[in-house]
């Protein structure tokens, strides 16, 4: 960082306490702030330079002192100087910024995943364990957390200023962001992309808990069904298991262990199966037909909400063997607890 | 400042009333006929080529190549650019250049989205 840690601490704390600076509450923050201070320095120096030039010339060469101007054509050397030096500074900025960008957007492999669905005008967080939160997010301190986010309607943007992270939440596409919170406490969540009337009401709080507290919170607030379990019910009720039964005679491919594997498509392309791919395979199956299968899978566009899709994705992700599928088949045949499909525009409403 | 523009000054090399001007050239009707013929033939070839199964992406490439050729012919002869000043040629070039910028830079985004996570 170039600055001594003590000095850094002092600077940041002091700025923070005078309410001119956000808290540094994630592992990313110091990196972002370092670049920020560098850029501030650049601005101040550039500003001073321009001011000093303007003021000294204005004073020295004002009309009273210097009644007759000396005409000067220009100076290639000088001009080259102030072309190259700013260029060099800007290029440094570019490289530094790019490195920071990938630090912010490249999640570590061991990050725990939480799903976030944005819709006009609320944030829904869904933990794999089935904990649902609205306009709130509980995370443990000291552990990398990855958010897989999608919007149900328009562009939103998920921002936690104190963590210095932000990412657009896009309709029709999963985006991810990650952070590792350092200090327990509560911090703002903002929707920063203008998204209609209640845009400024689309705010929430992220609560960083100590690992122990987090453990406690997870246990207390579970709804009893994990996302995968919800997905399992959906898988049965939507009739997926009619084709994806995992048996040799099935019309659809076996989905066990498909997550993270490489599939070969009929057009010869190879694709990596990730969240985005699973989602797309359900909504637009004919756009990437797995080799060896006919494009018979119907589209589920408009029939499943984004939450439902997340459940399905989470379910398929966790399918390591066909055991669960076969189980589902039996429940669906016995037609016991036919789970209801979460559909759009259900009961949740926003409180203004 | 009150000077009169005289014949000579109008031809002074530093007179910039019309530095980029091109001679007014009249294209002969015969040449138009050739161009016309070429365009019709081009059309026939595109239609024909479309019904032939060519390997790879050759079909659209050929179609576009013919369309471009036809467009260039129209621009050069029907629109007289061949006989126009450098300025007009440059202007036409600038238009297509900007169009290419729009397309390539945007496609850069769409294509590289598939290249992987980062």
């Amino acid at each position: 960082m170039g600055i001594s840690p003590v000095l850094w601490q002092f600077l940041v704390k002091w700025l923070h306490n005078s309410a001119l600076f956000p808290a540094e509450a994630s592992t990313i923050s110091p990196y972002t702030d370092a670049l920020y201070f560098f850029l501030l320095l650049m601005t101040v120096v550039g500003m001073l330079l321009v001011c000093v030039l303007v003021f000294t010339f204005s004073i020295r060469y004002r009309r009273e002192k210097h009644p007759v101007a000396t005409q000067i054509e220009g100076s290639t050397l000088l001009e080259a100087t102030w072309t190259i030096i700013p260029l060099a500074i800007f290029l440094v900025t570019f490289v530094w910024g790019a490195l920071l960008y990938f630090r912010i957007y490249d999640p570590p492999a061991n990050a725990m995943n939480i799903y976030v669905v944005g819709k006009q005008w609320m944030w829904k967080a869904e933990h794999p364990g089935g904990q649902h939160e609205i306009n709130a997010l509980h995370v443990p301190a000291g552990r990398p957390v990855q958010l897989t986010m999608i919007s149900q309607d328009v562009f939103h943007s998920f921002s936690i200023p104190d963590f210095r992270v932000k990412r657009e939440v896009i309709p029709g596409r999963y985006t991810t962001v990650w952070f590792q919170a350092t200090d327990p406490g509560t911090y703002h969540i903002f929707c920063t992309q203008y998204c209609g009337t209640q845009h400024s009401g689309m705010i929430g709080e992220v609560t960083v808990l100590t690992p122990d507290d987090y453990e406690k919170w997870t246990r207390q607030s579970t709804s009893g069904m994990s996302l995968a379990q919800n997905g399992e019910r959906l898988f049965a009720s939507m009739g997926c298991n009619a084709c994806h039964s995992g048996t040799a005679a099935a019309r659809g491919p076996n989905l066990a262990g498909v997550y993270g594997s490489k599939l070969t498509l009929t057009n010869g392309n190879q694709v990596l199966v990730n969240d985005a791919y699973l989602r797309d395979a359900i909504l637009n199956p004919s756009e990437h037909v797995t080799a060896g299968f006919a494009p018979i899978m119907p589209t589920y566009q408009g029939q499943i909400s984004e939450d439902g899709l997340i459940d399905l994705v989470e379910y398929i992700k966790n399918l390591q063997t066909n055991y669960r599928v076969q189980q589902t088949q039996m429940t669906s045949e016995s037609d016991k607890a036919a789970p209801q499909t979460p559909t759009e525009g259900t009961t949740e409403t926003v409180k203004p | 400042m009150a000077h009169e523009v005289s014949h000579d000054q109008a031809h002074d090399p530093s007179n910039v009333v019309n530095p980029e001007h091109g001679e007014h050239h009249i294209v002969s009707p015969l040449q138009y006929c050739f161009v016309f013929g070429a365009l019709l033939i081009g059309t026939a070839i595109t239609v024909g080529a479309a019904f032939v199964d060519l390997p790879g992406v050759l079909n659209p490439v050929i179609a576009l190549a013919i369309a471009c050729t036809k467009a260039v012919i129209v621009i050069l002869f029907f629109m007289h650019v061949k006989y126009q000043s450098r300025l007009v040629k440059l202007t036409v070039g600038a238009g297509f250049f900007t169009f290419i910028v729009l397309i390539t830079m945007t496609l850069l985004d769409y294509m590289s989205r598939a290249w992987g996570m980062w």
Partner: protein
Amino acid sequence: MANTVAHTNPLDKVDHLEKLMPHESIINEEGEHVVLPQHRHHFETEEQQREAGSFGMWLFLLTEIMFFGGMFFAYLLYRNWYYPAFVVSSNQLNVGMGAANTAILITSGFFMALGVWAAEVRKKNLLVLMLILTTVFGCAFLGVKYFEYKEKYELHHIPGSSFSTAMFTNPGAYHLKEEPLAPDMAEKTQIFFFLYFAMTGMHALHMIIGIVLLFWLTWRAHKGAFSSGYVAPIENFGLYWHFVDIVWLFLFPLLYLINRHPVH
């Protein structure tokens, strides 16, 4: 550049500004003193005015390139994303009509070019004839387009609430030799037709504007406005008309001929 400016006395000019403004004296190649009514006061020479006009027209065409360019890009993008849908919907377009229209438009452009020539060599009647032929072929193009649009209307291929993908999900029922599309892909045919209508519609709009202008030009040509060597309006309109042709030269292969291979 044989034309020379012969200014009247500057002081004179200040006093009789209005009187002098519309006309300027010009000495033509034969040394005669002619007054060209079209010469605007703020141009030094007729030549300057002509070149300014044609340069201005070219700049306007630049904006047209970029205007259509946006749509061409949208087309390029979605064609790559939804290739199967684009193929089948493109196959529903009538290549015969499209090709005929291409020929018609080229012919129209050819007559326009001849018209410019006729104006340049000051053949008034020929010019009028050429302009009329240009108009006729332009109208013929629009006529053919009308029938194409009508067919699309009848097949429910006009994007919007009445759009139907039945033909693409179940081509057999419509005696088509296409492979059936999966329903999700079939939905995307609507994007093709949207772009088809947006692009050809925008093109047709330019044709209509052009034809209106043609009427006006023909009338003026008939009155003899372009028989004395003043051809700028004809030339500049010619540029516009050829540009509209060029747009079609790209629209035709891109929209009609995406994939016409005989179905195996």
